[in-house]
Symmetry: C2
DNA sequence: CGAGCACTTGATCGCTTTCAATAGCTGTGG
DNA sequence: CCACAGCTATTGAAAGCGATCAAGTGCTCG
């Protein structure tokens, strides 16, 4: 539970420079942000914020993956968001955080103290605009996930998750039409269960089933290869193939 | 499928003046909005926009209730949002709408053509700020609903819906500690099922069950009275009673 | 080598769905 | 006025899917 090492980074060659909240900023704005920022490093498994905590800082995921989740008294848990590099953590204009934020891999966060950040936001429409764009994208994603949670079968849920991860991978590598898409699962079976509203046993069974039916191949328990994205798309119960090209 | 009558309203005494996107606007900004706006009236059951439609206008719900929903090829449907007076319809910065928008009651919409609205938004931080606030609130609501969809039992789902409607009602009437809260269900059993990720039969059964156990009382099939909000809160499986006072 | 963790697989249980019948209400037209 | 269609809602019986309980495998790390 301690910082393993100092991390430092120039904004000018930051890996998330063109996707994070700063992406629309001009040089002068970026300089101001640069003077305000500080980095925090978290280890895999570490909780970054607990539900109800006073939010003292906000920030962007630079590298690694975090999850947003909610827990009921009796322990039932639901993941409500997956935070990937460039995603924003925290909510300007609200005192307390509404969800647990947990690092599922080692993680680097580019942080700003909340009050100075809010002040800057009020004066910098570029940041405001970008944050609105990002929030609306997250809202769309949350709503799409509601269909998965509310109406899809266990098999379709697993396929949907695989599809999201595969699309994310192919978007990064810009492979236009590579038939085989391979990626690593960044989540344990239990975390997948929490994301999909299932038990970890059901997750395991459905992954085995998709493997048996050659929808996916596995080199190891965490390494997936998709031979036919169209097939995966159908298994996910999605409307048609139009989405699959973006 | 036609407008029943013209609707007209001065912004200055608009019922949603202090909650909609215009709520932070100064007089001059409001005048500009007033000159741009036009009203549309929809009848109960009418679809306002279909998934994938080109979004030609955006707007605010003035009165009535609309739903946002998503449908799979085989007909499975999931409601992903409930639009109440002051809620915003449409997404600046995106060409097409991602969900069906349907009026579940007669409805009045205060509309703006999309392009002029986007232009104004770029020059008016007050609107940008308000839209960000509203989007973040919706994001929180969507994420809380993900817990309902993913982890709650049918009985807890019904109780959660009743709770949301009861809280909304008590927030409007500002009854500080009235023990009995009464409200009308604005949704059919089928619409509730689509919201909760259940079948309409299960909805009906669970409502009967809550009635049998005196968690709710019913004057008619659509009229609910809650004798004890704390009890309803427990039935919804919520963490504790803190939320129930806001 | 043994403890701990992530994962897999089997057997059974129970909640929700599915299929089906029926009741109540509203509006229409003979 | 009543018959009837169409819609919303309720309730019953049976089936099925995912949860629960339980055992066991394989891997990593001390």
């Amino acid at each position: 539970m301690k910082l393993r090492h100092k991390y430092s980074q120039d904004c000018s060659d930051c890996p998330i420079r063109y996707r994070a909240i700063c992406s629309h900023c001009e040089v002068s704005e970026l300089e101001r942000l640069e003077s305000m920022k500080f980095y925090r490093v978290y280890e895999r498994g570490q909780t970054i914020m607990w539900t109800g905590d006073k939010m003292e800082f906000v920030g962007s995921v630079v590298s690694g993956i975090a999850t947003l989740s909610q827990t009921m008294e009796d322990g039932r848990r639901q993941m409500v968001g997956l935070l990937l590099p460039s995603d924003f953590v925290g909510r300007p204009g609200r005192e307390n955080i509404g969800f647990d934020v947990v690092a599922t891999t080692d993680l680097v966060l580019c942080c700003f103290w909340k009050k100075p950040f809010e002040d800057m936001m009020a004066e910098t429409p570029h940041i405001l605009q970008r944050l609105l764009e990002m929030s609306l994208d997250e809202l769309d994603a949350a709503r799409e996930w509601m269909l998965v949670l509310g109406r899809k079968t266990a098999r379709e849920k697993i396929a949907s998750l695989m599809l999201v991860l595969a699309q994310r991978k192919s978007a990064l590598t810009l492979t236009t039409d590579a038939r085989d898409i391979a990626f690593e699962l960044p989540l344990t079976r239990e975390a997948m269960a929490d994301y999909l509203g299932l038990t970890l046993e059901t997750v395991s069974r459905q992954i085995s089933s998709l493997r048996k039916d050659s929808v996916i191949f596995m080199n190891s328990k965490r390494s997936i290869t998709v031979p036919d994205m169209g097939r995966l798309f159908e298994e996910a119960g999605n409307r048609c193939e139009t989405e699959f090209m973006n």
